[in-house]
């Protein structure tokens, strides 16, 4: 019976081409606008590390001076070098990592290639297994490498290709900032979006090209980037003991019990630091998993949310128009509906027939809406925003576009189809 309804729907849509086109365009514009903004929102608010985001925690302590203390105030979202290294040494989590973003001037050995700057990350050994970084060659460095500030580096596939024309570069030497680093691993293209583990560098920025042990970066005095916050004078804000926060610290804590235990540990640590005179304030710690951290940090721009609501409002207006057009279309066919009812069609059959017709408009509208969404995203990609290059339709959003179009048209078709199936056949069949 469904194929019969499809056939009838096709005939009906062909019969009133102008009306059909109007409905399809209304659905397409509504869906196109909605999917453009929803795709942007989807990209911006996606889980950057699915499967692990509930186990990875951002650590916050409050090492600041007593002046300006407000109970319950949010602690800084970075830690001092002293605290970062102390927490790393304590090793109370399954894995833990201290890090900062950095910049490195690369001096290529390859002829014809001029020195250039790249973005990097100075971090500790657990970074790679903790965040599930994919390797195409070699392996991460070890905690032992951290301890002895080994002259090693892990680089991105793109940098390997650029410097050597291959990813088979493990064991080769990389020259940066007048020092030589031995390449021990090459990672595949990896760009968690948003850049959750460090929101101080570009949230939706480019991927990092080089990873060096944090200890090594300090010995070599590799330049760092990102923000820092100092509450007292310091000749070297990056030095051990400096009153400045500039490092991110993450801990992997599978299960709530581990997280609770680690929170207690941070409290005790803060208490000890207070007793020792390092911390002037009472313990004030925060431990947020990835989703909580992104929500707290409000990484999704307000304008993206606003645009989404406006687009959904536009879709509703388009749907209301479609309801009116479908109502007109179906009630103009009261005579045919009356005949079908007289010949044995139940109200339910008529309802389904008309709903299939509305659904078919949705499918065609969805296809056109997809094209419009694609055009909309193309326009977004040309906006001066750091997330702009990410605005692309992925498979789930592609399916969602069709789903939204069909669902929207079915919803729009409910009232007209119901009114259509309520047609009294006797009135429609009455002889003139």
């Amino acid at each position: 019976m469904f194929t019969y309804y499809l056939d009838l729907a096709l005939r009906s849509l062909r019969r009133n081409r102008a009306l059909t086109a109007l409905m399809i365009v209304a659905i397409a514009f509504g869906v196109g606008a909605s999917m453009t903004t929803l795709t942007v929102l989807h990209v911006l608010s996606a889980d950057p590390i699915p499967g692990k985001s509930g186990d990875l925690y951002m650590v916050q302590l409050d090492p600041r001076q007593a002046r300006g203390f407000i109970p319950g105030e949010e602690p800084p979202d970075q830690v001092t070098r002293s605290d970062g290294e102390a927490l790393l040494r304590a090793g109370k989590a399954e894995r833990q990592v201290v890090m900062t973003s950095g910049e490195a001037a690369i001096e290529p050995a390859r002829a014809g290639l001029l020195p250039f700057f790249i973005e990097g990350r100075w971090t500790s050994a657990d970074f790679f297994p903790m965040f599930g970084v994919p390797f195409v060659a070699g392996a991460p460095w070890t905690r032992d490498d951290d301890d002895r500030a080994a002259r090693v580096a892990v680089i991105a596939r793109a940098l390997a290709d650029k410097l050597f024309g291959t990813t088979d570069v493990v064991g080769r030497t990389l020259r940066t900032e007048s020092s030589e680093l031995r390449i021990i691993g090459v990672i595949d293209t990896w760009r968690p979006t948003p850049h959750f583990y460090d929101l101080h560098s570009q949230v939706y920025g480019r991927e990092e090209q080089i990873f060096v042990p944090f200890s090594t970066s300090r010995e070599l005095k590799l330049p760092r980037s990102g923000s820092q916050d100092c509450w007292d004078e310091s000749p070297d804000p990056l030095a051990l003991g400096a009153p400045c926060v500039w490092l991110q610290f993450w801990a992997e804590l599978p299960g709530k019990a581990r997280a609770d235990a680690y929170r207690d540990f941070l409290f005790q640590y803060s208490l000890e630091q207070q007793r020792a005179g390092r911390f002037a304030r009472p313990p004030n710690v925060r431990l947020r998993d990835v989703r909580q951290w992104l929500a707290f940090s409000e990484v999704v721009p307000d304008d993206a949310r606003l645009q989404t609501w406006i687009a959904i409002g536009f879709l509703v207006v388009c749907l209301i128009n479609t309801v009116g057009l479908l109502l007109t279309k179906f009630l103009r066919r009261s005579s045919e509906i009356g005949v079908r009812r007289a010949l044995g069609a139940s109200k339910r059959s008529i309802f389904v027939q008309l709903l299939v017709e509305a659904g078919m408009i949705g499918v065609v509208g969805g296809a056109l809406g997809l094209l419009l969404a694609w055009l909309g995203l193309w326009a977004v990609r040309h906006q001066p925003a750091d997330y702009a290059p990410l605005a692309r339709l992925d498979l789930p959003m592609l399916v969602a576009t069709f789903g939204l179009a069909v669902a929207a048209s079915l919803i729009a078709g409910l009232l007209p189809a119901w009114r259509g199936c309520q047609v009294t056949p006797a009135i429609q069949l009455k002889s003139p």
Partner: protein
């Protein structure tokens, strides 16, 4: 086959109450050809609509092939209408964007028959009305008489026991009207019960029984008066 007892139909609006049928009782048995006549607005089309399960009755009883239709929901009524009844309308009511084959196919679709069975029935019905060769033509390509023959083919394709016709010759010239009546008579001769609403005395004269409706009250004018049982009040009114 058709058993109505004290059937009444009242249309109500906020201001007016109109009695379209008053205590109509009628039995139509196997093989009958019944003409229902009466002036315009007398209630004969209302009677046909109720007989065809297209309208609800306000009061009384109606058994169709032994089934009390008051007990049925829309789905069951639709199935009963599809399986037991055939309709022929004055204005043919063919669906313009379906060809003849697909028009005749409409009632069969709602019966859930196989493709092959439907094809066989459609071809047989079109053959029966002499239009098999034009199965892929559209209604607009046919004359009025031919369109009515297609409507008859559509009505009989499902093999109904009772065929209800509302002024089937009303839009036809006399030659075409004769052809259509001849077709209906042949169907009746083959066992289909025919109930035809008409205001044409010539057509009515060709029926075995005549039931006359005036102001919603029925009177049998035929040879079998026992089959129409108006209530006393109704009979007094009509006489």
């Amino acid at each position: 086959m058709l058993h109505m007892k004290d059937v009444s139909k009242v249309y109500r609006t906020e201001m007016v109450e109109t009695h379209a049928l008053r205590d109509l009782s009628l039995i139509v048995g196997e093989g009958e050809f019944v003409a229902v006549t009466g002036p315009s607005g007398s209630g004969k089309t209302t009677f046909l609509n109720i007989a065809g399960l297209l309208e609800e009755l306000t009061g009384g009883e109606y058994l169709l092939d032994g089934v009390d239709i008051r007990m049925l929901d829309d789905r069951a009524r639709s199935r009963l209408r599809n399986e037991k009844l055939g309709f022929v309308f004055q204005s043919f009511n063919l669906i313009p964007d379906l060809d003849l084959f697909d028009n005749v196919d409409v009632p069969l679709r709602y019966r859930g028959l196989s493709r092959g069975d439907r094809r066989k029935r459609i071809e047989g019905a079109l053959e029966r009305v002499g239009l098999a060769s034009r199965a892929r033509h559209y209604p607009s390509e046919l004359s009025g008489g031919q369109q009515q023959r297609v409507a008859i083919a559509r009505a009989i394709a499902g093999g109904p026991k009772l065929l209800l016709a509302d002024e089937p010759t009303g839009n036809l010239d006399s030659q075409m009207a004769r052809e259509v009546m001849q077709l209906l008579e042949e169907l009746n001769a083959q066992g289909t019960i025919i109930v035809i609403v008409t205001h044409d005395p010539e057509i009515a004269a060709r029926a075995q029984r005549n039931v006359h409706i005036v102001d919603g009250v029925a009177t049998d004018l035929s040879r079998a008066p026992a089959l129409v049982r108006p209530t006393r009040a109704a009979a007094q009114t009509s006489l």
